[in-house]
């Protein structure tokens, strides 16, 4: 155990204990899905569309079926239930029937004795198409005369959030700034590709094992496509090699493919994606196009914000409606603005579907609003920090949806610490004062983040747990959220140990399995610590009451508060009166006391209404800000990020080392988003579906990272905790863009800001001069 942040009165939570899944990970014995083998196992490969938009004219699997080792080729006709993957709008077919909407869409499944044969045979399935005009970008999609690929207007979802009277304020405002911003795709690039095994059982049930974030989503999908009762489907997560949102929705497709093949062939079927296939077929961060306006008075008080926020959804809607919603709710930025008008639209194109990715629509809107805030500062001739200080959210502020912030708002503290730890005051100079070929710059971006699903997924925001103290005092826990590398099983163990009064290393969290706890929603939206943490707190608390009663009995006292130091229980009023944890457990078992309990937690009520676009969107918010220090070579336009200071108000750091890990990992994903990660899709075809063509940060690209944690407790969170997984991905990219501006005076309206983009801005400025 090492450093804690604030004064910590707990024996377990708040300490940087060693994560409990780490021995198997450093020794290589952890089993990821491709490491499992079942007797008689078959292998699946997917036949994919080779055109971006077309009617299927013919389908012929005769050649593939002749190949030695091929067992079967399955199509949509073989689906016993509904041929659709149940996301939100159910527009995504499990296997294409008469038409395809993107290059790479699944059409059929080949099942064979080896993965090599299956993949070879998949290429031999002959599909011919009548090609149709394809929609390559979202602007084209929204034109009245556009080809229609979804509904009668290509719009997956639209939200309007209106507060006050922004239009009127803009007309009379002292200062108005506006900008148009675009961001590109981002690929999750988890190191373990998608993979599933489906294992049919003699009783007609089916078990799915695999790499996933959301076992309950997969459960629903399998029931839907196989048309079997819910109690015949069991989903078990295997050790998962990174996810970041990429294993939220789309594993339902992979699992449903494996399940279909296993159900029909009556053999276990494994499907593991190649890296190229994973790039081409799995969801991505949405490209965005954002028009943004701020109005302010002469002193810098922002009086109005107007946003037109458009997402390119790709061919099917997956989770686009909720990604759009989160982005829209946060689109005006973490500021107290009385008049707001936000129009948010996600539309279809003939490209790979976009879906969940850490940040969930917010990195895009943050790029727009935080770039424009800097522009507003320039126009007002005040520092970007001062402008943020004047307008930032505090207790008493209201969000764009009219939600009053009544508690747990640490944005001011976060910005203060980030400024201090980045040496802002020493480094900041206005761009016109910077000289030389290589110029230093510093920039900041801030954000707020609604923890959990909030009103976007209200009925899903609950979680169950199961806690059982064994006879020797060790503890078994089941939760419905998944361990993805973020360390949630460790944090859950810490919470249980704290509540029960046992040592942390006595607690074991079982691999997530849908038969152990009720549907606990997805492992997304930085919700696991809050939701499953509270569910475990609930269950362990029930057990603790029984334990405390026994402690009093063993100490021969009638009443009194019982405390624990993780080894012994003692009386609060007389700490010398103590009994060993394990002795109490033994006594309880001897007296036939039940040391097992289920737990449950449901989030507080939210009031957001889709009709008015107003109301409380989330229970609570985490707040963050990042300062970036960059060096820009004004000749070559190369950017080197020197330092990132990223501060986060997360309520309470239950494990500071894991929190730092989340911050450091998130900011580096955001650095990639800012500078190098540039997926190219031309005429519907992905041109760089590999790590050679799509550049995620390597060890050579890493600046100094200073994670900063601020604790403004949330009263309903476990020990005050809010959430942290997503926020580190939201602000750094924009902080880098703002730092580039500060170094050079070059304002990018595009992410990623590659040397080519900067060179373009430089040339453009030249022409002006």
């Amino acid at each position: 155990m090492k450093k804690t942040l604030s004064k910590n009165n707990f024996h377990s939570v708040g300490n940087s204990v060693i994560r409990n899944d780490v021995i198997e990970k450093v020794t290589g014995t952890a089993k990821y899905i491709d490491d499992y083998k079942f007797g008689d196992m078959l292998y699946g490969a997917t036949v994919r569309a080779t055109v971006p938009h077309g009617n299927i004219k013919s389908f012929n699997s005769a050649l593939a079926l002749k190949i030695d080792g091929v067992i079967a080729v399955y199509t949509y006709k073989d689906v016993p239930g509904k041929n659709e993957v149940p996301f939100i709008l159910n527009d995504y077919p499990l296997l294409a029937s008469d038409k395809v909407l993107f290059h790479g869409q699944a059409i059929a499944l080949v099942v064979a004795k080896t993965p090599e044969i299956a993949k070879f045979a998949a290429k031999k399935v002959e599909v011919t198409y009548q090609e149709l005009p394809a929609i390559n970008d979202v602007h084209q999609s929204l034109k009245k005369d556009a080809v229609k690929i979804f509904g009668n207007d290509n719009i997956f979802k639209r939200y309007d959030i209106i507060r006050g009277d922004a239009e009127n304020v803009f007309e009379k405002a002292a200062v108005v700034v506006e900008g148009k911003y675009t961001t590109n795709y981002q690929v999750h690039a988890y190191l373990e590709t998608q993979g599933m095994v489906a294992d049919p059982q003699p009783d007609g049930s089916i078990v799915i094992y695999g790499s996933m974030q959301c076992p309950f989503y997969i459960h629903d999908a399998i029931v839907h496509i196989l048309n079997v009762p819910q109690n015949k489907v069991r989903i078990v997560q295997t050790t998962t090699g990174g996810a970041f949102g990429g294993k939220e929705d789309v594993p339902s497709i992979v699992a449903a493919h494996a399940a279909l093949a296993a159900y029909l062939s009556k053999k276990p079927v494994k499907i593991i994606y190649s890296r190229e296939e994973d790039f081409q077929a799995m969801s991505k961060r949405h490209p965005s196009y954002i028009e943004m306006k701020y109005a302010a008075d002469k002193k810098g008080k922002i009086t109005a914000a107007q946003v037109r926020y458009i997402l390119d959804g790709g061919a099917f809607s997956t989770l686009s409606p909720v990604v759009l919603w989160r982005g829209a709710v946060h689109a005006a930025g973490p500021y107290n603005i009385p008049n707001v008008k936000i129009e948010a639209i996600c539309a279809a194109t003939n490209k790979v579907p976009c879906g969940a990715f850490r940040g969930f629509g917010q990195p895009q809107t943050t790029f727009a609003n935080e770039s424009l805030i800097d522009e507003l500062a320039v126009k007002l001739n005040i520092s970007p920090l001062e402008l943020r200080r004047i307008n930032m959210m505090k207790v008493g502020s209201r969000t764009a949806t009219g939600q009053k912030i009544t508690r747990s708002c640490g944005l001011e503290k976060v910005i203060k610490q980030v400024v201090q730890k980045s040496d802002w005051n020493k480094i900041y100079l206005s761009p016109e004062k910077r000289t030389g070929t290589i110029r230093t710059g510093i920039g900041i971006a801030a954000s707020f983040y609604g923890v959990g699903l909030g009103a976007g997924g209200k009925y899903l925001d609950r979680a169950g747990s199961y806690v059982q103290v064994q006879k020797d005092g060790t503890v078994i826990i089941a939760i419905g959220n998944t361990e993805l590398g973020q360390g949630v099983f460790t944090v859950i163990s810490q919470i249980a140990a704290e509540m029960l009064g046992c040592p942390y290393n006595f607690v074991r969290v079982l691999k997530t399995d849908t038969t152990r706890v009720p549907d606990s929603g997805p492992t997304v939206a930085s919700r696991s610590t809050l939701m499953s943490g509270n569910a475990v707190r609930n269950a362990a608390g029930i057990i603790r009451l029984r334990i405390d009663k026994m402690v009093l009995e063993m100490l021969n006292v009638k009443s009194g508060a019982v405390k624990s130091n993780g080894k012994n229980y003692f009386l609060s009023s007389d700490p010398k009166k103590k009994v060993r944890y394990q002795d109490v457990v033994k006594k309880c078992y001897g007296k036939r006391i039940n040391l097992t309990s289920n737990g449950w937690y449901a989030g507080e009520d939210v009031t957001f209404s889709q009709e008015t676009g107003q109301g409380n969107a989330y229970y609570t918010y985490s707040y963050s800000a990042t300062a970036a220090i960059v060096k820009v070579n004004t000749e070559t336009c190369e950017v080197s990020v020197e330092k990132l200071v990223s501060g986060h108000d997360i309520g309470k750091a239950l494990n500071p080392q894991l929190c730092e890990g989340q911050i450091e990992g998130g900011v580096i994903q955001s650095l990639g988003y800012a500078l190098t990660e540039n997926l190219i899709i031309k005429n519907g075809i992905m041109l760089n579906p590999s790590f050679a063509g799509y550049l995620i940060p390597t060890s050579s690209d890493i600046p100094e990272i200073i994670p900063v944690i601020v604790e403004e407790p949330y009263h309903d969170g476990p020990f005050g905790a809010k959430g942290l997984g997503e926020p580190p991905m939201i602000t750094p990219a924009t902080a880098i863009a703002n730092a580039i501006y500060n170094a050079t005076g070059w304002r990018t309206d595009k992410l990623p800001v590659t040397p080519e983009v900067l060179l373009d801005i430089k040339k453009h400025l030249w022409k002006k001069i």
């Binding site: 290589g28 690039a189 090699g241 970041f244 890296r275 360390g487 790590f691 060890s699």
Partner: protein, 158 residues
């Protein structure tokens, strides 16, 4: 055509009868059951499949097994001695340098090659040593600090 190929794997002699252009990764995982070697891209880009061959780091996913004839190969399973973790493994744990764990075996092996060469690596040497190993979770920060700490520990223990 299949061939008999012999090499030393984690100190023990093994023999396989496979086509010599089959990748070492597939032979290790499929024929020899060494699933601790991970397949991340099978294009030689991510380093998840890293093994040490005669003291050098190699992406086993693009290495034909025929070329391994007579060589000595170490996977992460060969790092523990009698159940005792290697100092690099211990320090990766302490420093929080592991998240999803998929890149971890490859990175630890790359670090071993570095620290076998020098116990006083500079910052640039450290970055260079793991630059062929992608990690999407950690932002590398805690990996760097673990490497530095492991070097100090191994230097003082020597």
């Amino acid at each position: 055509m299949e061939k008999n190929i012999k090499f030393i794997l984690n100190g023990k002699e093994v023999e396989v009868t496979v086509h010599p252009v089959k990748t070492l990764l597939k032979v290790l995982r499929e024929d020899l059951g060494h699933t601790e070697v991970k397949a991340g891209c099978e294009q030689g880009e991510c380093g998840s499949c890293t093994v040490i061959i005669d003291g050098k780091i190699v992406n086993s996913c693009i290495f034909p097994v025929g070329q391994a004839e007579g060589s000595s190969i170490i996977t992460i399973a060969g790092l523990c001695k009698e159940g005792e973790l290697h100092p690099i493994q211990k320090i990766f744990i302490e420093e929080g340098a592991v998240q999803c764990g998929f890149c971890t075996p490859g990175i630890i092996l790359a670090v071993k090659v570095l620290l076998d060469r020098t116990l006083s690596p500079g910052d640039e040497e450290i970055r260079e040593a793991v630059s062929g190993n992608l990690c999407r979770c950690t932002g590398y920060s805690k990996i760097f600090s673990a490497i530095k700490k492991a070097a100090v520990y191994m230097r003082t223990k020597k």
